[in-house]
C-alpha cells in the first residue's frame, strides 16, 4: 500500500535515491528509517538485510556506514540553524535549541539549493508549536518569576523573528554606494507640498512589532558574558526598525507612533496620510506630533532610512 502523497519512483535509480534519503533523514536513525513504511514501500528489507543494498566495509556494517550520512545530515543542519539564530541558541541553551531545531527539520526539511533559506520558517514553527512546556523551566531555574516564565515562549518567538530579519537585511538588497535622501532634499519639498509627498524607504529597511522588548533583550544577550542568564523582560509591545549601512545591520527602537508612521510610508501612503494614520492609531493628536516629527524625520534621514521623495508637482 502506498503512502498518500509519497512520490512514486520513476526508475530504479529514483527508487534507490528515495529510499536512501528516507533512511538517512529519519528522526530516529537508520534502523528506524529502514523499517519505516516509506522505506519499506520503496525497498522491502527485513531487519538486518541492509547489506542487500549497501555493502559493508572491513570495519563497518551497512547500517553503520549509512549512519555516517544520517549523523551528518542532522548535525550539519542543526549547526547551520545555530548560526542563523545564535542568540536564540544562547537564550535557550544548546540542548533545548537543538531539540527545537531537530523538530523543525522534521516538519520543514530543506527544499532549497541554498542553506541560506533553511531557517526561514523557524519562527513560524516556534509559533505553531509554542514551546511552553519544554522550556518554561529555563527562566525559573534562574530565579525568575512565574510571570516571566509565562512570557518566555513569546520572547523566544520574537527573538527568532528578530534574528531572521537581521539575517535577511544583512544579505538582501541594500543601498551601499547609492546616494540617499538628505535633509536638504526634504527641506526642498516645501511645507505646502509636504503632506502630499511620498517618501521611499530604502529596500533594506524592515519594521518589526514584537510582544516583548526583544531588541533590548538581544542587546543584553550580546553584552552578557557567556553562560550568564539574561532576565526575561516584562511583556510590553515593542517596535523597531532594521536597516543596513556599510554592510552592517543597524537596529533602532521605535515608539508605536513612529512604527505606524514608517509603516504607512512603507505602504506608499503620502506623508500627510501616514502621519494622520499614526496619530489616530496611537491616540496622539497631529498637533502634538508636529514638533517631534521634525526631529524624527531629521534623525531617520541622517540614518539613511529614505532613498527618494516624490512631491506631487
Amino acid at each position: 500500500m502506498s503512502t498518500p502523497g509519497a512520490p512514486s519512483p520513476s526508475s530504479e535509480l529514483d527508487r534507490l535515491q528515495l529510499w536512501f534519503q528516507t533512511v538517512i533523514t529519519d528522526a530516529n536513525g537508520v534502523d528506524s528509517g529502514a523499517s519505516s513504511e516509506e522505506a519499506q514501500r520503496l525497498l522491502q528489507l527485513a531487519p538486518g538485510e541492509l547489506e542487500k543494498v549497501i555493502t559493508r566495509s572491513r570495519a563497518l556494517s551497512a547500517a553503520e556506514r549509512l549512519a555516517i550520512y544520517a549523523n551528518a545530515y542532522h548535525t550539519r543542519l542543526l549547526e547551520c540553524l545555530g548560526e542563523v539564530y545564535p542568540f536564540l541558541k544562547r537564550a535557550l541553551g544548546d540542548e533545548a535549541f537543538d531539540g527545537f531545531a531537530f523538530g523543525f527539520l522534521q516538519d520543514y526539511p530543506s527544499r532549497s539549493y541554498t542553506l541560506n533559506e533553511l531557517g526561514r520558517d523557524f519562527p513560524r514553527y516556534l509559533q505553531e508549536t509554542r514551546p511552553d512546556d519544554d522550556v518554561d523551566s529555563e527562566p525559573s531555574d534562574n530565579g525568575s518569576s512565574a510571570e516571566e516564565a509565562k512570557d518566555w515562549p513569546d520572547l523566544l518567538i520574537d527573538l527568532a523573528r528578530l534574528e531572521w530579519a537581521i539575517y535577511e537585511v544583512f544579505d538582501g538588497p541594500g543601498v551601499e554606494g547609492q546616494s540617499l535622501l538628505t535633509t536638504d532634499d526634504i527641506l526642498g519639498v516645501g511645507p505646502e507640498r509636504w503632506a502630499d509627498a511620498r517618501l521611499e524607504l530604502v529596500p533594506c529597511l524592515q519594521l518589526l512589532a514584537t510582544r516583548l522588548p526583544v531588541n533590548d533583550y538581544f542587546t543584553r544577550l550580546r553584552q552578557a558574558p557567556a553562560g550568564e542568564f539574561v532576565p526575561v523582560p516584562s511583556a510590553c509591545e515593542s517596535f523597531l526598525a532594521l536597516t543596513r549601512r556599510d554592510f552592517v545591520v543597524r537596529r533602532y527602537n521605535l515608539s508605536r507612533t513612529q512604527f505606524e508612521l514608517l509603516s504607512g510610508i512603507q505602504q506608499g501612503q503620502p506623508v500627510g496620510s501616514a502621519i494622520e494614520h499614526a496619530a489616530r492609531v496611537s491616540g496622539v493628536g497631529v498637533e502634538q506630533l508636529a514638533q517631534e516629527l521634525k526631529l524624527w524625520f531629521a534623525r531617520w534621514t541622517a540614518e539613511g532610512f529614505f532613498r527618494a521623495i516624490r512631491s506631487s508637482d
Binding site: 534507490l16 570495519a59 551528518a72 545530515y73 550539519r76 526539511p109 539549493y113 544583512f170 544579505d171
Partner: protein
Amino acid sequence: MGVGLRTVHFDYILENHPPVDWFEVISENFMDSRGRPRYILEKIAERYPVVMHGVSLSIGSTDPLNFEYLRKLKALANDIHPLWISDHVCWTGVAGRNSHDLLPIPLTETSLKHVVERIRVVQDFLERPFVLENPSTYVGFTGSTLSEWEFIGRMAEQADCGLLLDVNNVYVSSQNHDFDPEEFIRSVPHERVVQFHLAGHTNCQTHLIDTHDNHVIDPVWNLYRLAHQLTGGVSTLLEWDAKIPPFPVLHAEVLKARQHVGADLADEKMSAPGAGLEGVALAGDEPSEGPREETAVPHPLHHIAARVE
C-alpha cells in the same frame, strides 16, 4: 596554487592582498547575495582569478535539473568571470528535498548514462567550462558494477567535461572502500584533469571522514605528487572548512605543494605569480591523522553569518 575563499578571511584578504594565485568560491554563498558577501567577492574577483565551486547542482539526482539554480549560477558567472565552474559527482536530494550533503551515486551503467546526459544539458546552458569532482563516500552499493575511476573517467569522456581530482577524497574513499588510491590516480583520464583539491580529513579508526579541518597528511601528499606527475601539473587548491586557521597558515599549507612537486611546478597551467610566505612557522606542525573523532561531519557546511550592530 589557490585557496578556498572563506568568510573569516574576508577582511584579511581585502586589507593585505595576499599573494595568492587564485581563489575558489562556493557558488551558493554568493549567487543570491545582495549584501557584503557579494560585494567582497566582486572586490576579490577584480584582483584575483576565481573559479566557482558548487555544492547543490545535484547532477546525479533523479529530480529534474533546477533551472532556477542554473540561471543564478550563470548570472554569477557572468558577473565574476570564473575560469570554470565546478561541482561534485553526487546527488544532494530527491523529491524536492535537499540534504545539503554530497550523497553517493551507485556506480552503474544506468546512473552513468543519467549523469552524462545531465552534464551535457548543464554545459550547454552554462556556456562555460564545466568540471566535476570526485567526492568522498562512506557507503558502497551492492548494485554497483563500475569502479569509481572507471565511472568518472567514462563520464568525463562521454560528457566532454573536465575533472576536478580531489586527491584527499581519493584517499578517504580508498580507505573507506578498500581500494588502491594509486590505481584510481593512475586510471583517470589525465588530460581531463584541470584542477586538484587538497584537504585534511579525520581518522575515525573504522573509517575516514572528509572534514576539511586539518593539514594535509603525508599519504595524500604522496598521491598528489603522483597525480601531478601524471597530469603534468594543474591548478591546485587547498580546502579548509572547519577549525579554519588564520589566512597565512592556510596559504602556507597550499604552498607546501610546491615542495612536493618541486621544479615540475613550472609547467603548471595556472602558475604562481607571487612569492612564498617567508616567516610563517611550519616546523613541527607536520600532520598526522588525528584521534578517533565521533562527531566528525563531512563538509560541506557553507554559511555566512550576519554582521549586526
